[in-house]
């Protein structure tokens, strides 16, 4: 076991981790970040997405010690104004069904719109291609992103 320190949703935190501990388990079991979901355990579905130094990564294929000294943001740690806006638009566009994939999508949508004010449909598809959704057929999610962009992107 080794001590690590990192920033979690804006707060400095520390933990004791073993070499093979996965980030997703550290976040869920030690820091009770249950908004981070595990869907496949092999980096394919994107449900466990977190922002690592601002970029979306799948926490099931990161080892906990790899985030030492870095910053992790889960959906709970997004700026309130941005999350409020995403919530309103995704809700109105019916971009949520079972919801298990949703917190992961929210982080990639935030990251995309922070980087790009007016992404094309193809850019949206490409940037969300690390996330699987089995319910919506993606269409409502894409529409939500397009509307968020049209309404001025992320605050």
């Amino acid at each position: 076991m080794r001590p690590i320190q990192f920033q979690l949703n804006g707060k400095q935190v520390s933990a004791e981790v073993a070499a093979k501990d996965r980030l997703v388990d550290l976040l869920r079991n030690v820091f009770t970040c249950t908004e981070v979901k595990e869907g496949c355990g092999e980096g394919e579905c994107g449900a466990c997405t977190v922002l690592l130094d601002g970029r979306p990564v799948t926490s099931c294929i990161l080892l906990a010690w790899q985030v030492s000294g870095r910053s992790i943001v889960t959906v709970k740690g997004l700026p309130a104004a941005a999350l409020d806006r995403i919530e309103r638009v995704m809700k109105e566009e019916h971009a949520v069904q079972c919801g298990f994939c949703t917190p992961g999508f929210v982080l990639s949508i935030y990251s995309l719109l922070k980087e790009k004010r007016h992404p094309s449909r193809e850019e949206i598809q490409r940037s969300l291609s690390g996330h699987l959704c089995r319910c919506t057929g993606y269409e409502a999610i894409f529409r939500a992103v397009e509307r968020l962009a049209a309404e001025g992107g992320m605050p």
Partner: protein
């Protein structure tokens, strides 16, 4: 009295659960952590068919953190979790019949320790010959998987003339088809938790059918039903995959909880889930359609072989629907269908969106196209000539009940897709294009809404509506919210019927402590069944409010109208919340339990004749595809869907179902390809079993016909399964058009298309 504007029913109101899901605060079963929770891991068979010589748990018990190893003899009640037939022990102690059969449970202080220890339980097997093909399993020399032989059931349709059914037919189209499994790939794997408390256990988790879970757990523990409370947790997708299997997970955790006295949890990894849970059935289908020279269908003869896997599970029920639905939405006077449900040493087939009918629809619609080709007739014209209409006789001998806008569905589909121009464009493209080939396919279906006559004993459904003194309302249905929007539908019907503001409604997860056994959330039945139960409960409360108001206003009850959330009589009016406060102060009872059960459906199992379903949902899809002749990859460019829904309670949720069904159906048709080697899944994970991603989806055009179903809540029928059923057939026919072939297998993997295009 009828509710007026603003209409909550029929509006695109936001889902009641979206905010919690977006913020990640909705709790799925793995998000609950009670102090002292123990974790369960399952020791599963590595063999497809073998005798168990001994089980040695000692090496597992030596692992620090292991609390207990549970084997068959520890079960206090019956060692039995068979869903329909008692053929499936919870824990095996003599013989295993598929890779993934349960042998023992390990209970430990963490999930990781439990899994590590489960791998150390020694199970010594003596291998037996196994059988993995449904036709081989039916041969005399095949190993017997269960004592009664490998044929579980032989279902029939005998309609019209008996032998020589093709005697009136001048042209015959005949073809054999084979379809592979489909994995549900709900994003949240199976999971359950049980909390013991005295002689009571509370089970919660991801599920479609709380009543199934309740009865399985009671049976395994030797409890009565009232000793088992089942509360559904937020459920991360199901698609049929959480109808029967959750009973098994629940029985494991409940058993562990009762034996250890601690809360116990089991959540599968994706790999575990994909190896052991039931799939869409693999089937082999032989179809023969006969018609007159001018295209009037006279006869259908079909044999459908259903690979049930090692235990019957729900296979006979799936087969029952496939059997009664085998000829699609067409008038057929002479029908002879044999549906054989067969044990093999494969994993189980089970419930999956469409319940046996995506397979039969693929076979029927493809054979219809072969028939059209033989008749030199436009395939659409052939369908139009034979399409069932209101009052026509079904192959079960009953008349087609209302609502049935079959022709309107077909005509809308043709108009919206501009089908003939689309098809001509594809053909023109193919004349000059060497490296891409385009094709267009159309398929139709009608889906029997709600449970088949064979399952009608489970059809009744309940709801609980509780109006609180401040005007807020709690609604609980016996159906389950899986992501499809059942709770939002229930909230809309409650709000609309009570005149309550939609924002006042809160829905609770299904709970056997609050609502009676309402059957499973399957068969596209929840809007009709739970919706009608909510309607019943809300009307009772509405009537009590009106009666109370008539008394204090001193007016006849009939003069009171509900208009946009206001109860009115003459020039007097009072909003819902104020009326509720007033009624509450006067001790008016504002909680009601609702119930809905459709009338008895007569049914003869021997001939497959009678009233199979209360009503039908017609649907059609047109698919426009392009096949890359370099890679063999087929890409779906656009899909048009037309659905007969009775009434769209929430058009946005209806579109969501339609989109999801298109994409899931397309995945199965083209690239979802579960591979088994002697019953072992070779690709148990989302890296190797591909489901459609954000880059794969087609453009989608969804429309619907509202022809109210007289017995539906506000005229509504179902949408969950019709959204998928015709899609694989339409995609396959389109790919066949592009490649000038008739696809007879699903999925249409690139290797096969490449071969076709370069032969």
């Amino acid at each position: 009295m009828s509710p007026m504007e603003p209409r909550v029913v029929g509006a695109r109101v936001p889902r009641v659960d979206s905010c919690d899901k977006i913020r990640g605060s909705a709790k799925y079963i793995d998000d609950f952590n009670y102090r002292g929770t123990l974790h369960v891991a399952v020791v599963t068979s590595t063999q497809p068919h073998a005798d168990i010589l001994y089980i040695n748990p000692a090496p597992a018990l030596d692992v620090a953190g292991v609390v207990r190893v549970i084997v068959a003899k520890d079960i206090p009640g019956q060692n039995q979790v068979g869903c329909v037939f008692p053929d499936q022990p919870l824990l095996q102690h003599e013989r295993v019949r598929f890779v993934g059969d349960r042998v023992a449970l390990v209970v430990a202080t963490s999930a990781a320790i439990a899994r590590e220890a489960a791998a150390k339980v020694v199970v010594e097997y003596r291998a037996l010959p196994s059988v993995h093909d449904v036709s081989e399993a039916l041969s005399d020399s095949a190993p017997r998987i269960q004592a009664g032989g490998n044929l579980i059931a032989h279902l029939k349709v005998r309609h019209g003339s008996g032998l020589g059914i093709h005697s009136e037919s001048e042209v015959i189209a005949e073809q054999e088809f084979e379809v592979n499994y489909q994995e549900h790939a709900y994003l949240e794997p199976q999971g359950m938790m049980a909390v013991p408390s005295g002689r009571l256990v509370t089970v919660s988790g991801s599920m479609q059918a709380p009543a199934y879970v309740q009865s399985a757990v009671a049976r395994v523990l030797g409890y009565n039903l009232a000793q088992v409370r089942v509360v559904q947790a937020t459920t991360g997708g199901a698609f049929g995959g959480k109808e029967e299997y959750p009973s098994e997970v629940a029985s494991c955790v409940a058993l562990a909880a009762v034996l250890t006295g601690a809360p116990c949890k089991l959540v599968y990894t994706r790999q575990e889930d994909m190896q052991v849970t039931p799939k869409r059935h693999r089937m082999r289908l032989h179809y023969k359609i006969g018609a007159t020279k001018d295209g009037i269908i006279k006869s259908v003869h079909a044999t459908i072989q259903v690979d049930a896997g090692a235990y019957a599970g729900l296979s006979t029920v799936v087969a029952e629907r496939a059997n009664s639905s085998a000829t699609g939405p067409y008038k057929v006077p002479n029908v002879h269908i044999d549906t054989l449900v067969v044990y093999t040493n494969n994993l189980l087939g089970g419930a999956f969106r469409g319940f046996g009918t995506p397979q039969t629809t693929f076979a029927m619609e493809s054979t219809m196209d072969i028939l059209a080709w033989k008749l030199a007739m436009d395939p659409v014209e052939l369908r139009r000539k034979n399409l069932l209409q209101l009052g026509d006789t079904l192959i079960t001998g009953a008349p087609l009940p209302p609502s049935a806008p079959s022709m309107e569905v077909l005509e809308t589909l043709l108009t919206r897709s501009d089908y003939y121009r689309l098809k001509a464009d594809a053909e023109k493209h193919n004349e000059t294009s060497r490296w891409t080939k385009r094709g267009v396919g159309l398929a139709l279906n009608m889906y029997g809404c709600c449970l088949h006559a064979g399952g009608q004993h489970m059809e009744g459904s309940g709801a609980l509506v509780q109006v609180r003194s401040d005007g807020s309302v709690e609604v609980t249905i016996g159906g389950t919210e899986l992501g499809q929007g059942a709770n939002t539908m229930a909230a809309q019907i409650a709000a609309h019927t009570l005149g309550a503001p939609f924002g006042n409604i809160r829905t609770l997860q299904s709970d056997t402590g609050l609502v009676p056994d309402s059957g499973p959330t399957v068969a596209s039945r929840t809007t009709i069944m739970s919706g009608n139960a909510v309607l019943d409960a809300a009307r009772q409360i509405q009537q009590r409010l009106v009666q109370f108001l008539a008394g204090i206003w001193r007016v006849p009850g009939e003069t009171i109208e509900l208009d946009g959330g206001m109860y009115r009589s003459g020039n007097r009016s009072i909003p819902f919340s104020e009326l509720v406060r007033e009624a509450g102060r006067n001790r008016v009872h504002l909680t009601a339990s609702g119930w809905y059960a459709p009338p008895e459906k007569p049914w003869d199992k021997e001939t497959g004749q009678g009233v199979a379903y209360v009503t039908y949902c017609f649907a059609g899809h047109v698919a426009d595809v392009e096949v890359d002749a370099m890679s063999g990859l087929a890409r779906v460019r656009k899909v048009w869907a037309v659905h007969d829904v009775g009434k769209a309670i929430n058009p946005a949720m209806l579109e969501g179902q339609a989109h999801g069904g298109i994409v899931q159906g397309m995945g199965w048709a083209l690239f979802e390809n579960l591979q088994l080697d002697h019953g072992r899944v070779l690709n148990p994970g989302l890296a190797d079993y591909l489901i459609p991603g954000a880059m794969d989806i087609p453009e989608m055009d969804v429309s619907w016909i509202e022809d109210p179903y007289p017995d539906g809540p506000y005229g509504a029928k179902g949408i969950g399964e019709p959204s998928l059923i015709t899609v694989p057939a339409a995609v396959a026919i389109a790919v066949g058009h592009a490649c000038s072939r008739t696809p007879t297998r699903l999925p249409l993997v690139p290797e096969m298309l490449l071969r076709w295009l370069h032969e």
